[in-house]
């Protein structure tokens, strides 16, 4: 199972599902990470965490463990 945390810089993917068991899942969806949306991995900072994604015309930085709840 591939998640957004496995993406490389510049890689694009479509969100399959959001792992409901993650405590941040509801907020991730509210901010726009919904199944069917296309995301692009833009930047990783040092230690590869947090990760910046392009979603719905915005740039959102989330932690790696939160990205791991986004199934692509």
């Amino acid at each position: 199972m591939k998640t957004a945390a496995d993406m490389k810089i510049g890689e694009k993917a479509r969100i399959e599902d959001i792992d409901n068991s993650h405590p941040s899942s509801h907020r991730l969806m509210e901010i726009g990470f919904t199944p069917g949306q296309e995301i692009e991995m833009l930047n990783k900072t040092l230690f590869n965490d947090p990760i910046a994604f392009s979603i719905r015309g915005s740039i959102i930085a989330i932690r790696k463990n939160e990205a791991a709840s986004i199934i692509i």
Binding site: N20, P23, S24, H26, R27, L28, M29, E30, I31, G32, T34, P35, E38, L42, N43, K44, T45, L46, F47, D49, P50, A52, S54, R56, G57, S58, I59, I60, A61, I62, R63, E66
Partner: protein, 600 residues
């Protein structure tokens, strides 16, 4: 509240919206007040309420509130915002909710709009950031959006104020309807929170977005030539559906600012430049202020004469206030740089870069901005921690903020350094000051790490540590806005510290000069300067202050301090910046032009 009845009659308009959508800029336009707006979530730490400027001829109160993403809050500041929207403790439920919507990120913003409409609020949608949408080669049909949402939609350029008239026309219309509808309009607070409803809502929003956003074919022609160039590049890049692409310039710049290696270099360089400029650029200005006050003090003493009240004015009041005003240049520069960094969108990136290291010691990337503003002043910094969702991280951030060396402590350090380092050795002085700052950061981080280790026993660590932060599009910071913010912050500092320092300077003068104002000393074979010196030390040794100082000396002795520092410390209970002026009076620091002499 005695104004309760009058306020109830005046309609209340609450401005809300997602972070970075231009709420506060709009509020400033309507209220005429110059509150600072920043490009970082949670900058509205306190509620601002104001009457709409009389020139707009609308009788209503407006309320500015921190940005929210959804009506289902996850952090204390969101919770407060949501509660206030439903029922403000003083002003009740808002009659109209004006929600700012970033047109370049329509779908994410419409989520909140729909929640508000479904809750039964009287909503007016304000489309902002249209320039960013135009830059991408797209536009939005406000008429269609208004039909679909069944509420008024207006386009406003909050920076120039263009479109505000339309907003007010819409508000006036709503107010008239309000009086007709009376109590029929009730706010329920029921809105879908389940996953199914959330996804259904977004599916509907996506359809709305497709219906209202259209390709302009050609990008808007801007007057500025540099924007023309960017637009020409963008036309090539435009393809159907690319309105869902973030700002091109921001993407390019982020390749460096968020680069693994260069990002870190840029981050530390920015911090370094910020702190060194606070010390070095300010130096000449500080000399100027110092000169002005000592000249003023001398003149005052010459005019009034060498008597007790002349001395009170020159030594007690002018020197006392001057010793604090001398640090105003540093405070101005610190606030200016902080404001520029915030407005440009850099601070959100800084928070992202520093999140991982800070999470290791139990903090959060979102602790970064509060910690940084802790260098200016601790109180607003602590209030800004409300954006941190995790309770433990928030408490820990609040806990270490007082360890950040705030601007009020600068005078104290500068004074102590002046005591310890020869006057002609400015470089060593600057180095020591820098070391003090590094030490304050290091000690706060060490303490955070230690507390984090042992915190499990007294803080609930069950809640989820999270970092979800929108990185706003880079915007050229408006210098005028930054300067306004700098002056209003500095004014706050002077207005809050000034009177306290003035009163205490007078009280301290009384305590240190009386009752033995003109002591008798042995003047045989001594120069004029020496006589003054002797009189000074004799006067203070027999003053009221010395009695207090001697009284608390048993406590001070083990610290290696004597009664004089004790007196200064008592005065510091009012404000820490008072320490300098009080110690100066007590130690008889005579400020002469550019030379500081210590007369013990």
């Amino acid at each position: 509240m005695k104004d309760q009845t009058t306020l109830n009659k005046t309609p209340l308009i609450a401005i809300t919206g997602q972070p970075n959508t231009g709420k506060t800029t709009l509020f400033n336009q309507l209220s005429g007040k110059k509150f600072k707006t920043v490009n970082y979530p949670g900058s509205t730490v306190e509620y601002s309420i104001s009457k709409i400027l009389s020139k707009y001829a609308v009788n209503a109160n407006i309320l500015d509130s921190p940005g929210i993403i959804s009506l289902l809050p996850v952090s204390p500041d969101e919770e407060l915002s949501v509660q206030t929207l439903f029922k403000h403790p003083e002003h009740g439920t808002p009659d109209i909710i004006a929600v700012t919507v970033d047109a370049s990120q329509l779908s994410r913003n419409l989520y909140l709009v729909r929640q508000l409409i479904n809750s039964g609020f009287n909503v007016v949608v304000i489309l902002t950031m249209l320039d960013l949408l135009h830059k991408k080669g797209f536009d939005i049909s406000d008429k269609k959006l208004s039909e679909i949402l069944k509420c008024d939609v207006v386009r406003v350029n909050s920076k120039t104020g263009e479109g505000i008239d339309n907003f007010l026309t819409s508000v006036n219309k709503s107010i008239l309807q309000l009086s007709k509808l009376s109590e029929n309009n009730s706010v329920t607070g029921h809105f879908p929170v389940s996953r199914e409803n959330l996804l259904k809502s977004y599916t509907e929003i996506e359809q709305i977005e497709k219906d209202v956003i259209f390709n302009t074919g050609i990008s808007e022609t801007f007057k500025e030539t540099d924007l023309d160039k960017i637009n020409k590049e963008l036309i090539v890049l435009n393809s159907p559906g690319s309105f869902q692409k973030p700002d091109e310039f921001t993407l390019k710049l982020d390749k460096f600012v968020l680069h693994k290696f260069w990002g870190l270099i840029i981050f530390f360089l920015t911090m370094l430049i910020m702190f060194t400029s606070v010390f070095y650029i300010a130096a000449p200005a500080m000399d100027l202020v110092n000169d002005a006050f000592s000249l003023w003090s001398e003149n005052a003493s010459d005019i009034v004469g060498d008597n007790w009240y002349g001395n009170l004015i020159s030594q007690g009041i002018i020197s006392g206030v001057g010793s604090v005003m001398v640090f105003l240049p540093q405070i101005l520069i610190l606030f200016l740089i902080l404001s520029l960094l915030e407005n440009s969108g850099f601070l959100a990136r800084g928070a992202m870069i520093i999140d991982k290291p800070l999470s290791k010691i139990g903090l959060n990337g979102k602790s970064f901005v509060p910690m940084l503003s802790g260098f200016a002043c601790a109180i607003p910094a602590m209030m800004a921690t409300r954006t941190i969702t995790n309770k433990k991280e928030r408490m820990l951030t609040i806990f270490i903020i007082p360890l950040m060396s705030c601007s009020a402590r600068l005078p104290v350090y500068a004074l102590l350094i002046a005591f310890l380092i020869p006057k002609d050795d400015a470089l060593t002085g600057g180095l020591i000051l820098t070391l003090i700052y590094i030490f304050s950061i290091a000690s706060s981080l060490v303490i955070a790490a230690v507390v984090n280790k042992f915190s499990k026993s007294f803080l609930n660590t069950n809640d989820n540590s999270s970092f979800i932060l929108e990185l706003p599009a880079y915007r050229k910071p408006k210098l005028t806005a930054a300067v306004t913010s700098m002056f209003s912050n500095a004014k706050q500092y002077v207005l809050k510290a000034g009177p306290v320092i003035l009163y205490l300077s007078i009280i301290l003068w009384v305590l240190t000069y009386l009752p033995n104002y003109d002591p008798v000393v042995n003047e045989n074979g001594k120069s004029e300067d020496e006589i003054v010196m002797l009189k000074n030390s004799e006067r203070i040794a027999t003053s009221y202050a010395s009695e207090i100082g001697y009284f608390i000396e048993p406590v001070m002795k083990p610290l290696g301090l004597d009664w004089r520092v004790g007196v200064a410390l008592i005065a510091t209970f009012a404000a820490r910046e008072v320490f300098v002026s009080s110690l100066m009076v007590i130690l008889k620091l005579l400020i002469q032009r550019k030379t500081i002499k210590v007369l013990f």
